[in-house]
Symmetry: C2
Subunit: 149 residues, 2 copies
DNA sequence: CTGTATCCTTAGGGATACTG
DNA sequence: CAGTATCCCTAAGGATACAG
C-alpha cells in the first residue's frame, strides 16, 4: 500500500462529484489506461505480460495499478489454480466499457499526434472489434446518447 | 518552467509511439482534462474562470497546464487587447476534437461511478451539443470508423 | 513467475505571497 | 486580473534486490 485511494495528493475523498473528475480519479495518470489498453486490445491477462509492454512500467507501479483497478471494479483478479501458472486479471463489464473511451483517444491521437504508430497486433485487434464497436455506437445513437437524460 | 515536456518523470521523449501512450503524454494526469472540460463544456476562456472550478486547481498547476496545452496545439492563447481585460485561451481544432473523448468518459462515469453529479451548466451545455454530437457519431459510423483503415 | 520491499530522486502539487 | 515566485511536502516513479 502506501498509495491514497484517490489520485490527487493529500486527499482521501473525491475532489468533486463531476463525472469527468471522478473518472480521472480512476485513470487520470500516465499508466492506468496503458494497462487497460493491454487488457482490452492486446488480450493481456498476466502480470508478466503487462510488464513486458514497450513503455517499461516498473513492477511496483504495475502492482499498484492492478490493485487499484481491481478495487475499483475495472479488473477482476482470478487466483492461480493448480495446473495454471499464476493469477490472471480480466476486464469486468465496467472495464469493457472503457473500450469506447480508448477508441476515441486512439482516433484523436492518430489524427493529431505525429509519431503515432500502434504496437504490433494493436490495429489488427481493433479491426476485429470494429463490427462490435459499430453496433455499440449505433445502439447508443439510436437510444439518443443515454446518460444525459 | 521546471516541468518536463513529457509526463512520466525523467524523460524528454515519448515512452513509445503507441497512439494511446502519446495521448496520455498530453493529458495523462489528473488536471489537464478538467481544464478541457471547462473550456469545451463550460465555455471558460480566462485564467480566473479556470481557477474558479470546484476542484480547486492551484495557480502554478493551472499556468503549467495552460502553457502545455498551448504548446501542444490544443489551446490557442490570444493576448489581451486594449479594451479587453486579459488574454484568453480557446480550443483549437485539435482541442475541439477532444469532445468525443470527454463524452465517452462522461458516459462511462455516469454509468459506473456512483456519486456522479455534473457541475451546474454542464448537462445543459451537453444537451445543447447533443444534436451535433449525434451527427458526428453517425458520420463516423457511416464512414466505418476512420483512422483504422 | 508474481509480486514485495527498499532505496532514492524528483516532479507534482498545495499554500501563500507577491508583481505588472 | 493574470499570472510568478517560493516554500515545503508528499506521492509517484525508477532501479534493483529479493521472497514465496
Amino acid at each position: 500500500m502506501g498509495y491514497a485511494d484517490y489520485m490527487g495528493h493529500k486527499r482521501d475523498h473525491p475532489r468533486s462529484t463531476c463525472p469527468i473528475s471522478l473518472a480521472l480519479e480512476v485513470f487520470g495518470d500516465p499508466w492506468t489506461l496503458l494497462v487497460m489498453r493491454d487488457a482490452l486490445y492486446l488480450g493481456k491477462r498476466r502480470f508478466g505480460e503487462f510488464l513486458s509492454s514497450g513503455e517499461k512500467i516498473a513492477t511496483n507501479i504495475l502492482a499498484n495499478r492492478l490493485e487499484r483497478l481491481v478495487r475499483r471494479g475495472v479488473l477482476r483478479r482470478k487466483p492461480a489454480e493448480q495446473g495454471r501458472e499464476g493469477p490472471i486479471y480480466e476486464p469486468t463489464e465496467k472495464g469493457l466499457a472503457l473500450i469506447p473511451v480508448l477508441m476515441e483517444i486512439l482516433l484523436w491521437s492518430e489524427r493529431y499526434e505525429r509519431l503515432s504508430v500502434p504496437p504490433p497486433g494493436f490495429v489488427r485487434r481493433i479491426r476485429a472489434d470494429r463490427e462490435g464497436l459499430i453496433k455499440l455506437v449505433q445502439k447508443r445513437v439510436r437510444s439518443g446518447l443515454p446518460g444525459l437524460g
